[in-house]
């Protein structure tokens, strides 16, 4: 049976924190199954350290349907792309290896996707950050009144967790940034811009929560920021793009 959804979880050096992440993700799978949805997991172990690998592969809630993929990219964008290639679901979502999600996270996304255009990208409605700082926010609906297209130049409005039909991920792969080598970073921001430039609209999966672990150090975004990386060129900001050519105040 073709999965309704393939969840790609990228793991690197999360260590024991991967255990709680998988507790949460696999719990959400159970809730989805209870409502009739088939969720496939693809765990991408990209240069994963031995502890992370052991924690993930021996998790007690695994049922044998999961795919484990070991890669040596050393880059989250390429790791996710490898994950996409290993998925078989109609829809794909991306998750980091040390966060948590609400119980009906997958279900909310699948229900919302079913009633929207297949080119849509979904993000969780609410993000709760914990750890280094504790806060919550609503993410912005690109089709809603709070979305400001011009601010895409200076800020990434959405977190890394994205959900879309597999055709979106296949037509717009993540771009490898390798911040230390290239000076470029923020591959998720870049992906968001690229998908918008290709006509995707970023909406919200109402009723879903992403619980984002804010570590003191070690996150990729912090690496990008610490290295003063800059987002690679994107077609969204080219002169002939819909974004660049629209009139002031016009929505995308």
């Amino acid at each position: 049976m073709t999965p309704h959804l393939s969840a790609i979880v990228t793991l690197h050096n999360e260590g024991v924190l991967a255990h709680t992440a998988l507790n949460s993700y696999l719990q959400s799978r159970r809730f989805a199954r209870d409502e009739g949805f088939h969720v496939q997991f693809v765990f991408v172990l990209d240069n994963a350290d031995p502890q992370t690998k052991a924690v993930a592969m021996s998790h007690p809630m695994l049922d044998g349907s999961e795919t484990f993929l070991e890669t040596t990219h050393g880059d989250p964008a390429l790791a996710r792309n490898s994950g996409v290639a290993a998925t078989t679901g109609d829809y794909i979502c991306t998750l980091d290896g040390d966060d948590l999600i609400s119980r009906r996270y997958f279900t909310c996304h699948l229900i919302e996707a079913a009633r929207l255009d297949p080119n849509v990208v979904l993000h969780p409605e609410v993000v709760v950050s914990f750890g280094m700082f504790n806060a919550f926010n609503w993410q912005v609906d690109q089709a809603g009144q709070y979305f400001d297209a011009d601010s895409l130049l200076t800020i990434n409005p959405w977190i890394i967790a994205a959900f879309a039909h597999r055709s979106v991920f296949e037509s717009t792969p993540y771009r490898a940034c390798m911040p230390k080598v290239s000076g470029f970073g923020y591959e998720d921001w870049h992906w968001n811009c690229e998908t918008i430039s290709r006509g995707s609209v970023h909406r919200l999966a109402w009723g879903s929560v992403y619980v984002y672990r804010r570590k003191l150090q070690g996150s990729l975004n912090e690496t990008s920021h610490g290295l003063r990386s800059v987002m690679p060129p994107t077609r969204l900001f080219q002169v002939d793009s819909l974004w660049a050519s629209r009139e002031v105040g016009h929505v995308l």
């Binding site: 709680t20 507790n23 949460s24 719990q27 948590l100 119980r103 609410v126 993000v127 709760v128 950050s129 914990f130 504790n134 806060a135 919550f136 926010n137 609503w138 912005v140 709070y146 400001d148 297209a149 011009d150 601010s151 895409l152 130049l153 200076t154 800020i155 990434n156 409005p157 959405w158 977190i159 890394i160 290239s182 000076g183 470029f184 923020y186 998720d188 921001w189 929560v209 619980v211 984002y212 672990r213 975004n221 912090e222 990008s224 920021h225 003063r228 990386s229 800059v230 987002m231 690679p232 060129p233 994107t234 077609r235 969204l236 900001f237 080219q238 002169v239 974004w243 660049a244 050519s245």
Partner: protein, 471 residues
Amino acid sequence: MSSEFSRRVTGRIARLLRSVANRLEFSSTPSQGAIAPASVWTPPAMPGWVAEELKALAYIEPELLPANDSVDRFQFYSVPVDSAPGCAYRTLINAIGAASPSHIIMVPWLKAGGADRGAIYHVRAIAEANPGASVLVIATEDAESPWAEKLPPGVRFVEFGKATRGLDFNKQVVVAIRLLVQLAPQTIHVINSRVGWECIARHGLALSQASTLYASLFCDDYTSRMVPVGYARDYLRTTLRWMAQVFTDNSEAPKVWARDLGIDASRFTVLPFPYDRPIPPLSTVDAGASPSRVLWAGRLDRQKRPDVLAAIAEAMPDCQFDVWGDRVMGPADPAIARLQALPNVTMHGAFSRLEDVVSTDHFAYLHTSAWEGVPTILFDVAAAGLPICAPMVGGIPDFCDREDLVERFDDVDAFRSRLELMRSSFDLRQSLRKKQWDRLADTRRWAHFVERLASIEGYFHRASQAGRGGA
């Protein structure tokens, strides 16, 4: 009274929150890391359904709700929204148009000045040597650029400083970086643009992926306490690793930066600026004539030491001084006031080209200055056949023999003696005229400048990198 107090307290808290939020906006990760500008409205509480989810997840993650079951510690925040940089960027990218530039030259502005002349020389040289080049000049300061009209036809000129008016410096740099990343020219050349220098300092590694980076430096400036300052001192140490070449117009400045900053002097290319007009044959002068006037022409600012000029004029009351140039210092400045009060000084005001103000009544061109690269006006003076009296500062010895210069820029007696000698000796004047003209013809020809630039690999064209970059 209590409502006034309450209003004040509320306003104060709101201002404080806004100030914290503004600081966080660019110091935090762009993805979700920042707190939006606060306002006086009450932040929304966490919805009950989200709190319920957290309580359910607390069984999985012990750090989520430690110690108690409360979600109160989770404060509302929103991602900061700022349209202005994006809006400015769109204005600029649409003004630039669809054709990708091969070369981007970043300048503060294009107006009367030596560095501005130099920037235009670079653009002309690129356009001449590589007719297929597409050159974009970006003026990063919010200022007029009357010399933009001197750019060769087909060169695009964009007033970045005006388009980003109202943005703080950080946001201007963000916009500039995005332009450079998106346009991905083969060559980026920064000439006295602080925004340009800052782009390379922050993102030189990324910019160097598609573009070869160059900069031009001339000399240090000095504070009122004569502490050397300027782009070289602000940026060289952090940016040199990304630079293919740093050009200077004189041989002295690299020695200073090597000595003071430990910069490898071999990373500099000394690129003498050319004389930008045909060099006329040296005119003959009447040996029997007795010219009695001194010409001073330049910008009346602190660097050019109008106080030294005034002291020299004061020391030579029998000699008339024609002083031409824009006044940067106000009339109340003591040096300007002193010049205006001297009976043997005529303050003429602004001038366009030296040829317009030089006459056969002048026996010398007096150049006063505390620091310099190689002042290009000396080329005009040499072409006009007027002997130069100048101090031995900066790159002036690149153009004038050391024995013909005054050793210290503030040695009024030495200037007076030198001028007296020049006034009294026709042979000395002739000798100086000949030496200056020969130096101009030998070292400042346009073709030399273009040839020198052509020898810099990749400056005019970077064939192996063509097509790289871009989205």
